[in-house]
Symmetry: C2
Subunit: 181 residues, 2 copies
Amino acid sequence: MATDRDSVLEAAVGVLSRRPTAHLDEIARAAGISRATLHRLFPGRDALIREVGMLGLRRFGTALDTAAVEEGDAHTALRRLVDATVPDAALCAFLAGENQLYDDDEINDLWEQQIVRLHALFLRGQQEGVFRVELSAAWLSEAFFDLVAGIGWAIQDGRLAPRDAAFSLAELFLGGALRRP
Amino acid sequence: MATDRDSVLEAAVGVLSRRPTAHLDEIARAAGISRATLHRLFPGRDALIREVGMLGLRRFGTALDTAAVEEGDAHTALRRLVDATVPDAALCAFLAGENQLYDDDEINDLWEQQIVRLHALFLRGQQEGVFRVELSAAWLSEAFFDLVAGIGWAIQDGRLAPRDAAFSLAELFLGGALRRP
DNA sequence: AAAGTTTGAGACATGGATGTCTCATTCGGA
DNA sequence: TCCGAATGAGACATCCATGTCTCAAACTTT
């Protein structure tokens, strides 16, 4: 029974990241509330989708903060980011799939802000000689986010154990991104 | 002007992989045909979506064939698979995003068939000592497909040059999947 | 216990995409 | 040139999710 807005949004993610066209009935049921209450919390479907996106972007921003991606060497910074991001992988999965959101300016701006920070992390790592330079920082950012999203989907569908998530992501991605010594 | 079914499906992918809820008008326009003709080719929206999914799975199956993933050492087999898959990355992106398809039994079966082959490739590679065993074959399969999908999205949105796609995918993924010598 | 608030269930209207139809036009083959 | 087939444009009807409303029940607060 989720009464506050964020709990509802979390429940909504669970449904929407799998089926972006899920009916509001289904989302309300997943949140343990009625469709009427859902409408009281969010003016309509668009608003709901938008707020889920905003939540995801806020969470990812918070993950970048707690990981302090601008500090320390890029390698361990990325490891910290993995740990900070994995708990919100489902939200990232939603963001990756819902390209529809990109009509909204506010969403686009916030999205841009996060990507810039991620991109800067990889660029810094390349300049430090930590990350490979044959792969563009843009592609590294893209691929990282894709894998986070993949983690989210895999966990939701029960194909990946949550305990293994951070390790699987870090090992696979860092293996490909780190410069060989 | 795409008159045959497959051309229409290809055009549909271009629209649907970005916006899964695109109207039939938009899809028809993207294919250069009228909505009436679109309906003559495909009974309805569901049928269209389904056939796009089927096309994607068929293409991926063909890629597995042409790459001959069951032959040779797993490393070069995977490199062949990258080259064979990248041209159809957009279709894979659609498959990754449209989890809605998973209601259909025929789709599920075909999907299962491809995943089994991909999974077997990684398992074989692990047994040959080529791929890392700390990462499960299931996760490697998942991550590979996620990155292919990411390639597709990135190319469609102009964030990745098609020429760089195969290299970027192979280097990043193999870097993380291959056992260090 | 009583008043006020919130919620759930359902009915209802609405809008918009979908599906079906017709008909004029165009294209292709004989 | 002529005929048949295919296409496009548009006009409908239909369906269904959405949005709005009401009212009773449950819960909270005093």
